[in-house]
Amino acid sequence: MMTTKKRKSSIWQLVSSSNIGRLFVILVPMLWLAAFFFIPFLVVFNISFTESAIAVPPYTSIFQWDATNTYATLKLNLGNYLFLFETSFYLDAYLSSIKIAGISTLITLLIGFPIAYFIARSSSTMRAVLLALVILPFWTSFLLRVYAWMGLLQKNGLINELLVSLGLVQHPVTMLQTDFAVYLGIVYTYLPFMILPLYTCLEKMDMSLVEAAQDLGAKPYQSFLHITLPLAKPGIIAGCLLVFIPAVGEFVIPALLGGSNTLMIGRVLWDEFFLNRDWPLASAVAIVMLLLLVGPIILMRKNNKEAL
């Protein structure tokens, strides 16, 4: 650690070596991200300790000045956090978001893996076409892809008509505005995020290893368990995290496909902010969500570094 630290060139050394261009390309994105990515979190953190007030902006300050304007008292309101942990509604919302995101991630992995494997083993022309087919939905509107399911799932929608005409069900099934629709929506919209990292990993895999194992008498499931799966691990981790982390905070899918009892924390935050106008509580909801996601985000960075 000490030796690497010494070799690191500091920003001031960069200036003294009159390398203005280099300093410029480092500082511009750094300052932009500091201002519009990092500092906003500090602001949210700060506001999560204030109280909601009927004012513009609708919260109190954590500093209270005395009459002479010389002394400031720091007053942190822990009430928002206490409220979050005392009210089962919020705890349930966090747990149910993690559950929904977790199960959807697993299903996405189960569907995505064969597709990724298939693409990785195709001929190179075929591979380019299939890859384009996976990437294409990724480019089309997320909102519209969720919307597409509303028409399919509704009571008199295509799926119900098909089920009834095939005689599989007697009456149309309620699918829209249920948890089922939310799982389906997450799996559907996030599938490309799972396939792409899996594909990148599987494509690099040396197939002769599998062949060698099978020559030595391993059954297909054995060579899959002991060779393919371990080699695909970085891709599996990357894919799962790319699906799980944003799915926990998902808003659009539960709002359009979920029912009124589908509890997800992204939706709770939205309602807290837009309907109840309780900015401090919404901030506390965001901070706790962020703390939940810090672990997975760090894991993702570590995994990315190892994979490179």
């Binding site: 390309v25 480092i26 519209l144 028409g151 295509l158």
Partner: protein
């Protein structure tokens, strides 16, 4: 040499069917004559006509296009700088922080990004008087920030696969860092920057949550208008709009992929 495994082919085929069927159904039903979305009433273009005469949607589309072009361009410049710095400058203080800040927006839930930026703008407004009100500018800042991350990833991965000997040769021949970048590196990573721009453009055009937080009254973006319409149920006009957007995106992606493949063949 490769064994054809039927279960795998069937699973992959079902997977692709799952990915595309909803989109195909949406497109077909945008040409439906009937107002009832699930009852087929014959082919018709009437929802396209009513879409183009819907002033609210047209205004929002214009706002969204403006925001998307500006954000994608800003994000391309800043994202290229970030990707370049992260892959070509070996060590500097704060590199870990920069790479963390640049990659985290990729997975950050939209509600957190939206809320945090809104609270930043409100605090800045009351501290410095800017931004006095929220609108196009604040949405552009927000979109630039999260699109920057995507451009940085694309550019960084392109740079990491790039043959560094070309850059080294230019340096050996005495090219200044600035001319090295503009004459050698930039042309080589241009396809990545273009695809980063396109990705940013579509992401910005598509964003509902962040825009809802940071946009001001009278500046509703297209996704905000679509969301308020579809919340109440299926609207044939939105089907028509969706079809147009999907076809436009599909065509531009296919063209971009084609160009990139051709360039790859030329560069080798």
């Amino acid at each position: 040499m490769r064994k054809r495994s039927w279960p795998l082919i069937i699973m992959a085929a079902l997977g692709f069917l799952f990915l595309y069927l909803p989109i195909v159904v949406l497109i077909v039903f945008s040409f439906n004559e009937s107002k009832l979305v699930t009852v087929w009433g014959g082919w018709s273009l009437k929802w396209y006509a009513s879409l183009f005469s819907n002033q609210e949607i047209m205004d929002a589309a214009w706002v969204s296009l403006k925001i998307a072009v500006i954000s994608a361009s800003l994000a391309s410049v800043l994202g290229t700088m970030t990707g370049f710095v992260l892959s070509r400058i070996p060590r500097f203080r704060g590199k870990t922080i920069l790479s963390g800040w640049a990659m985290a927006p990729l997975v950050m839930p939209d509600v957190i990004t939206g809320l945090s930026l809104l609270l930043l703008f409100v605090s800045m407004g009351s501290l410095f008087g800017w931004p006095a009100e929220r609108g196009t500018t604040t949405v552009v800042i927000a979109h630039t920030t999260f699109c920057l991350a995507y451009v940085a990833v694309v550019v960084q991965s392109r740079l990491s696969t790039l043959d560094e000997t070309l850059e080294e040769a230019a340096m050996d021949l005495g090219a200044k860092p600035s001319s090295l970048f503009f004459l050698i590196t930039l042309p080589l990573i241009m396809p990545a920057i273009v695809s980063g721009w396109l990705l940013s453009f579509t992401l910005s055009l598509d964003d509902l949550v962040i825009a809802s937080f940071v946009s001001g009254p009278g500046n509703s973006t297209l996704p905000m208008v679509i969301f308020s319409k579809v919340r109440l149920g299926i609207t044939p006009e939105v089907n028509a709009l969706a079809t147009l957007m999907i076809v436009a995106v599909a065509l531009s992606v296919l063209i971009a992929l084609y160009i990139m493949r051709r360039q790859k063949r030329v560069v080798g």
